[in-house]
Symmetry: C2
Subunit: 464 residues, 2 copies
């Protein structure tokens, strides 16, 4: 599922990141090592969770032919695609703007076989044109899941349940999943007697919760006051169960409106029974940004983040547009926004980046390599480096390098006067940062060093 | 480092994969779940290995401005880039054709700070135009590492040592790293008195090991027979240590040729000392495809794969092209080619895709969700599904679904006549595939089922 254009919601300041915003196109990020580690950890936690629910990852091409993918994309979305002409075929290529359409195409083509239901997951970038200075990403990192071939309430609730568990897994504290059914507003609009064009414009206004615009559309055609009042009220119907009761009043016995309400009620109750009541918000104006949704839909917001973190819903007719009708539902999460929302435990400045820096004068590079290899075999994270200088100068150079590399310990190999089985070890660099570190150097046997490294790794292993 | 254009090497048949080659542009792959799992496992093994050597992952934008990245790209490579005009700025954007140039730009811009040496890694796609039916990838999955800020032999050997360990980690059986120094042939060409243009053409021919073309270039200018003979001989100088001795003869005491030979010798000896002699092949014609290499270079081939699996080398002047001269070396591996080369252990058809399929009639979806959640909490991989049918029909439907989903066991919840604390369990589906499975169904208490699941997970954990 794609992240739809954000609705206006209260936003607090976004955490600023050490990312470049010059020389590269606005909206394209370089994620530097410290942040990249956390982004990758997020991705892995999300994928582990969807994996536990039986979803298998699929890897899709970054670009493909426009004419092939177009049936699964809204015209507005195609306008926001990066397109270029394939030199070899003359056909138009586009960078994937949405993973769901690609999966729909892939499934319709029969590439995933005939067994149903299919549970597929992905982690990928999608690309959307945004104007410069819009402050929004053009390359959007997503993790998502699609459940294909089932159309009951249990499958509706499954993907929402799974999405909520994903958010809990990564430690997101307070978030709300707003839950609706596109059939409700669509039913109201259809019943109102608005023209097809009027319905489309009203849908777009309702999706953006743009009430003045909605008012304008309603005023431009002759429809009954009761119908207009119901349409006007629907986008503002959000809250807890009372929303469903009020919806039933607006439905006024019309089965085309009662059916989506009944479905929404059942899915809501199932999710409450699963313990998610506090995370849910019913929203009869919930609409998502994509035309392919045609059932229960949802998106997720967190405090302090103005844009949605993800969402999804049922798209029973999307795969059919590629020639193989199959009911489906799914969700996508925006990894970059999650990264900016989740509070990561502060890593103290004392935390080491690597376990050992192994240093040696240039003429001892063979021993350097051998010692580093032995330490790595214990599972330790080890960098190696040759050093200039002699005697105390050599030790000082090694210590300086160890501090710069944020190494927990420095191991000096091949220093003059040391036996070939011995090394010089300076432990807990960060702790002693200010003292005279060369005085803390201890001469130890290589075998003892390796044994100590092995013990330390075993301890780390037990803790994690 | 980028994977350079493959040199002609003997190729055996490539393993054919279940990937689509129609409707999507040739050279763009969809990797289906079974293969995707193995590809991701490969990536993770490679990244874990480079991580152990102290390399930190960096995530780079998929496209950027041509004018910004151009200083780091060969003109020939730019010709093979996917380019498109940025609607908002009018500047030309290009899909990343090479991660090394992007990292060079990023480091030169100071984004990675001032601490040196820097050890960076990446996993990414790079994109190159290839003609349709060329049978080569346009989207190339890479994992790579760059060591920036060091210029001694230990850093040359470090990246090769690390690359070899990466290949061993993923279980690649027989491969050869061919090791050379671009300074040797460049020195021969310079000394020969060829024009600058002639030198460039000869370099290109030598890089492709295109001896007839090299002959042509040499014949087109007036150079001494001795010089021509040496240039002609160099691309064919590959093998073990005797190559270095022959190189010294060709150098004829010229320090500009002896220096690269000496460097190559030292790096070779260091790698041999690290136990890699059997994986190495010296190649005085080794040249890589990229102009930015200016020191020790290498690439890696395996039996049965005509194209190189990866490679790299020293590129001391690349980062300087972006304004911050820094010595550097690195490598990249082609994940897709590795995937096609590595022999994966055959997963027997009896291997289950998921541990449990939890099934229930529609009216029991709450209990279905609850039981599935409890089983997942043990760490088991669980899918859930509502079923049509009653009594024996219900059991048969659940068993059929379990077999289709390749579940190890089926758990039936809320079947009529069962106590609310009980479930019906059918274990070892695959084993009993042919028998009357409903007869194997056992009624068990939910608590006992969960306890059994926990024991099974603990066993799996101990085994892995």
């Amino acid at each position: 599922m794609s992240s739809a254009p954000p609705k206006p919601r209260p936003s607090s300041g976004q955490v600023s990141l050490s990312r470049e915003r010059s020389l590269v196109p606005v909206g394209m990020s370089t994620i530097l090592p410290h942040a990249a580690k956390q982004v990758r950890r997020l991705e892995e936690q999300l994928l582990a969770q969807v994996n536990r629910w039986g979803y298998d990852e699929i890897i899709l091409p970054t670009f493909e032919y426009l004419d092939v993918l177009a049936p699964g994309l809204e015209p507005e979305l195609i306008d926001h695609c990066y397109q270029f002409v394939d030199r070899t075929t003359g056909r138009t290529l586009l960078l994937r703007p949405d993973a769901t359409a690609q999966i729909a195409r892939t499934v319709a083509m029969g590439l995933t076989g005939s067994t149903l239901p299919l549970r597929l997951s992905y982690r990928t970038s999608v690309f959307r044109y945004e104007t410069e200075h819009a402050g929004r990403g053009r390359e959007i990192f997503q993790v998502g899941a699609e459940l294909i071939g089932l159309d009951d309430i249990t499958s509706d609730s499954e993907v929402i349940d799974l999405m909520i568990e994903c958010l809990q897994t990564i430690g997101l504290q307070s978030f709300k999943v707003s839950l609706g059914h596109v059939g409700f507003i669509k039913g109201l609009l259809l019943r109102s007697g608005l023209s097809a064009q009027g319905q489309k414009l009203a849908e777009q206004a309702a999706a953006r919760k743009d009430l003045p615009r909605l008012e304008e559309v309603l005023a431009s055609e002759r429809i009954s006051k009761t119908a207009a009042r119901a349409i006007r009220e629907a986008p503002e119907l959000y809250g807890q169960e009372e929303v469903l009761a009020r919806g039933r009043v607006l439905a006024a016995g019309d089965p085309a409106l009662l059916a989506p309400l009944e479905r929404l009620t059942q899915v809501y109750q199932l999710l409450c029974a699963a313990g998610h009541k506090d995370s849910l918000l019913l929203d009869l104006g919930e609409f998502r940004g994509f035309d392919y949704y045609d059932g229960v839909v949802f998106d997720v917001f967190a405090e302090g983040m103005g844009a949605e973190l993800g969402g999804g819903g049922r798209y029973d007719h999307l795969i059919g547009r590629f020639g193989r009708p199959l009911p489906s539902t799914g969700f996508a999460l925006d990894v970059d926004r999650l990264f900016r929302t989740v509070a990561f435990p502060e890593e103290g400045s004392a935390a080491a980046r690597v376990d050992y820096l192994v240093a040696a004068p240039g003429q001892a590079s063979r021993r350097l390599t051998a010692v580093a290899a032995q330490l790595r075999r214990t599972g330790a994270r080890v960098v190696q480096q040759t050093m200039q200088g002699r005697d105390a100068g050599l030790v000082a150079a090694a210590v300086t390098a160890g501090l710069a590399q944020q190494a927990a310990s420095v191991v000096l190999v091949g220093a003059p006067g040391m036996g070939s089985g011995d090394v010089l070890v300076i432990e807990s660099l960060a702790v002693h940062r200010s003292g005279n570190l060369s005085r803390l150097a201890k001469q130890v046997g290589l075998a003892d060093l390796v044994a100590a490294a092995r013990r330390a790794q075993r301890k780390t292993g037990e803790r994690s």
